[in-house]
Assembly symmetry: C2
Homo-oligomer: 180 residues x 2
Amino acid sequence: MADEALFQFLHSEIIQYVNRAETGESENGRCVSKLENMGFRVGQGLIERFTKDTPRFKDELDVMKFICKDFWTSVFKKQIDNLRTNHQGIYVLQDNKFRLLTQLSAGKQYLEHAPKFLAFTCGLVRGALSNIGVKSIVTAEVSVMPACKFQVMIQKILLGCDRRHWCEIRFQCEYGRGLC
Amino acid sequence: MADEALFQFLHSEIIQYVNRAETGESENGRCVSKLENMGFRVGQGLIERFTKDTPRFKDELDVMKFICKDFWTSVFKKQIDNLRTNHQGIYVLQDNKFRLLTQLSAGKQYLEHAPKFLAFTCGLVRGALSNIGVKSIVTAEVSVMPACKFQVMIQKILLGCDRRHWCEIRFQCEYGRGLC
């Protein structure tokens, strides 16, 4: 409880500070990008600690399951509620009660502020993946707070993949298997 | 371990960002003051959570013991190593291995950077105390890293106090009693 509160309060302070510090024409975009960069470096550092004693990852899906389960639990005290993939390098991570949005009012008028509250985490995931050697682009989207979806696009060239449908990955109990 | 790393990485990022954002003549002073203010607000928030289920504090010393023991352990995963007071509103909290300094090299040439790494924590203590109703000024001092001393000056008028010597407070095992 204590650590969670510390992280949440600190995260809010950073948003507030960066928001004030970045003034100019494209201030909102710059604020989001600064927060994303901070998250990136923190993610890089964290994944090194978290994977210190874990065995080598089997494949990309194994990496994503680690992010959804172990990594998410360490940072947000819960795991991702749903993981989907198109098997072509796009993963959608859904968190039905994202910790960094729970302090915001769920009213629609606050939706415009959501990107600032998600940027750090997008960077966190991108940084974590990058240190495992997976280059990606991470974006986030909110329709009803505090639920949100993070889309991870793995940057690579896929050859000979004919699976074009979306699959849901189960990882609730033990690491589980992908369902296709 | 995970939470500690998250806090440490985030704290470093903030220092780096604030340091870059605050440019101008008195940049170093402004940077320290911004960090102190962030800590103040985080401390205010944290103490509310931490004291939710604790009984009312008996006196000022009781408050300080709580800061040194429970508060410090929640944030820094260890308690303050030594607490001293002159019984006139000045308390010196010594941490022999302060977590936010352990990443810095112990070389003397890095001592000038220490204030930036202590400002947030000074604010944290000031904010926590302020929300318990204790107005204070908190400063920090480092002679050999990673050890450091936080000096808390309680702002109040003391009447009829004739104790002018410094006392060491023991709180290692259970809350203990002040020794005079």
